[in-house]
């Protein structure tokens, strides 16, 4: 008969799963921010390399609306600052979550060793 996992181990495993999904979501969101930041930097680089009197247009729905190049650069620089700030925040959060995850992983491993000293569930009865 299959042996039931001890409640405290089950609780910690559930927490570990939740932390893992949080970490995955955060990593994904951070990668989205970083890819947008790369794109902003790329556009700023292109804008710097073209003649400064070049007309610039922004696509709005199905329309191309004429813009001033310096306004566009200012707008993109503001966006860049905001994205960099977000990226730093995500990095800090990721660091904290990763630390929590590693600590909890250690805890789970200790509990596994405590309840299953032979290394596999079902090989020994759980200690009280």
């Amino acid at each position: 008969m299959a042996e039931r996992i001890p409640p405290d181990l089950q609780t910690q495993l559930l927490k570990l799963q939740q932390l893992q999904s949080q970490l995955e979501r955060l990593t994904y969101e951070k990668s989205v921010i970083e890819s947008e930041l790369r794109e902003v930097n790329e556009v700023l680089k292109e804008l710097a390399s073209i003649p400064q009197d070049s007309p610039i247009y922004k696509i709005v729905g199905n329309l191309l609306v004429k813009q001033n190049i310096s306004n566009v650069q200012n707008e993109l620089n503001e966006r860049k600052e905001l994205l960099e700030l977000k990226s730093r925040t995500y990095q800090k959060q990721e660091g904290l979550l990763r630390k929590q995850f590693e600590d909890l992983q250690k805890k789970v491993n200790e509990l596994v060793q405590k309840y299953y000293p032979q290394g596999t569930p079902g090989s020994a009865p759980p200690k009280a």
Binding site: E39, V40, E42, V43, E46, L47, S49, I50, P51, S54, P55, I56, Y57, K58, I59, V60, L64, Q67, V72, L76, V112, G119, T120, P121
Partner: protein
């Protein structure tokens, strides 16, 4: 659960199946990404070709108004001193074709670099997946023999 057995690592078939499933998902995602990059590369190359044709333009050209070519227009003398090029993020710049070509060259270079990275990663993942698949096939064969 993986456990150590006299200096060797013992991994359950269940763990291998989970790993194989995860690798399969990554392979699918990477293949999709590679296709998208290849499509972008094709678009950049055709834009560069169009710019070259514009430079050496004849007096008369045929222009398709749709992708399938259901309706084609006869166009005479397209002004080619300036073109609109996509800079990204929905911004377009009206610049001489030479500058547009430089931007497209740069984009092509970046896309080729991305393609190389994706291909390398894909090869690594496919190799890992093949190894796990081989182990699982062997285990299945042994199980069949045991029965």
């Amino acid at each position: 659960m993986a456990e150590s057995n006299q200096g060797r690592m013992v991994v359950s078939l269940e763990d291998l199946l989970v790993q194989a499933d995860s690798l399969k998902k990554e392979i699918d995602a990477l293949q999709k990404l590679r296709d998208e990059v290849l499509e972008s590369l094709g678009a950049v190359k055709s834009s560069k070709e169009a710019l070259n044709i514009l430079k050496a333009q004849n007096k008369e050209m045929l222009l398709s108004v749709d992708r399938r070519g259901f309706v084609i227009l006869k166009v005479t003398e397209i002004p080619s001193d300036k073109v609109l090029v996509n800079l990204g993020l929905g911004y377009y710049a009206e610049i001489p074709p030479e500058d547009a070509s430089k931007i497209l060259d740069n984009r092509e270079e970046q896309l080729n670099k991305s393609l190389q990275e994706i291909t390398n990663r894909l090869n690594t993942v496919v190799n890992a997946y093949s190894q796990i698949a081989e182990i699982l096939n062997r285990a299945q064969a042994q199980q069949a023999q045991g029965e």
